[in-house]
Amino acid sequence: MTRYILRRLCLLPLVVLGVTFLLFFLTQRLSPEMRASLYVKDPRQMNALEEVIRQYGLRDNVFKQYGRWLKNVAHGDLGYSPSANMPVAQALKQYLPATIQLAFVTMILVVFFGVWFGAASAVHKDKWQDIVARLISVGGFSLPIFVLGLLLLMVFYGQLHWFSPGGYSIQTDIIIHGAGFKTYTGFLLIDSLLNGQWRVFGDVLSHLVLPAMTLCIGSFALMVRVMRSSMLEELSKDYVRTARAKGLSKYQVVYKHAGKNAIIPVITLAGIQFIRLLGGTVIVETIFDYPGIGRFGVLAAQQLDIAGILGFSFLVAILFVAGNLLSDILYTAVDPRIRLE
């Protein structure tokens, strides 16, 4: 098992290098002048372009430039992001916790309801529970995120005023930027509780509800399907017959025996979905103006903020490998056949 994890860790730099080099290579399609102009704020400074190009070595061979970027990254310097108006590293550090928070809340909803609906659907195959779960699942698959997001926004924000999109309320902002508010984890949901700020907690949570609901629907649909088919398969296995022959209750047969086996593929899927959410909240964060790395990535791309784009993809690549690793480790926790080999 340790060897397996080590092997996976060796993969990490390869993926990160591959992704970033590809993007770096693509940005070279832009002329050095275009790239230099990013750092120039005032049209009157246009004649300074040549100097910027020389200073940053923008005419150098692509490998040389990439090497320079890597060297800086190794020193923790991801460059300056004009779109966020701060160094890329700082921007990522600031926005990542919000995205993780969103992805985490979403995943809890997805796994909880997905496993529940999927299992019920399999146990009551072809009964009304199954039909309802399958309808919801088909609906979830067919509904694009941006449509659902806008719908939720219209209903719950536009009509009912239950939840709010966009940034946190002014009071919240004042409190969290105030001197008395200590940052422990960077996750506002946790930090607000640790600081005993219930109103901040409520505000943060209310900003999470709509994006989390929007994000969860697609993954939920998939989760229901995987859990259902996995459960159906397990329920037909020999050991389930043994469990019944032993005189166990239906609950024990279904949840303890079949459920424990059926959940294994679900865990892998949950891991992958979690990662996908971390890098793929772009649309939802944009719709709800949620301050996460997805929105940061979109703004960077819109404004041709090369350092920002590279930093964003660098982080997503790392998260991708790390997340897969995490899901593998979780996998072994439930499957002794892998754990003990």
Binding site: Y239, R241, T242, G247, L248, I264, P336, R337
Partner: protein, 322 residues
Amino acid sequence: MTEPILRVENLSLSFVTENGTVPVLHHLSYSLPKGKILAVVGESGSGKTVQALSILKLLAPNARVDSGKVIYRGKNLLACKENTLRNVRGSKIAMIFQDPGSSLNPVLTIGEQLTETLRAHRKMSQEAARKKAAQLLTQVGITEAEKRLTEYPFQFSGGMCQRVMIAMALALDPDILIADEPTTALDVTIQAQILTLIKELQRQNGMSVIFITHNLAVAAQVADEVLVLYAGQCMELAPAPDLFAKPLHPYTQGLLSSLASVTHKAQRLPVIAGTPPRPGEIVKGCPFAPRCTQATTKCFETCPPLFAQKSRQVRCYLQEAQ
């Protein structure tokens, strides 16, 4: 003769499929004497396993009982509610299966699977159950029982898994053990060990056993009585010594003559030509008639009833006169 502990009466069963209902058992009746081993032999698809599963109502959801009763201690198990059945399953009538590897849950420890059986039927602390579980493992010949309780099925060999299954089945001193081809998936030496173990434990506990097998040699080793099934019908039911000494039904005769033997070397084994009717195929007359060398026109027209002869029963017109 002692009072039978279990009686199967006139059991007919079919599977409901997309292509209509397929009958798999026809009016099967037999009784299991107390403390005896009844072997049920037959080819694949003859209904051996299905009839055994129906005793505890463990059949697939698409199975339908058309008629018949399974009487255990004066109760018809087929008419019992799920809750009543649960009290019988595992504690009064236990079952072991063909493929021990897949019959154990791969993600639960052996200890967990043993103790949960105990705790499902007896009020027992986790600790007491564990102690008893270790005892059971030792009883079925597994050494270092304490340590092995913490292991998972994949860490056991096939023979060891079957021993665990047996330990699990015997955990609550059942009256009846149903063994569904318990040795089929094992190699020959392990097979012999498991057979000896089952016989030994049967004698110690005074259990009755329904032993399902397609292997006549195995049946000969263990059985007190033999029931020969063919296409879901009882062909012959007789005490084992009588049956093996003098099989009456042509099918049983065919089966016995096709056994390999050390004394007749270098000969082609005789076979019974043809194949059994497919499930669902409508057979007029005796289902074995198309393959029978002694069949008469009468055999193709109506199915013979079971003819009783002293302590045995045969479904064949050849035995009608006697």
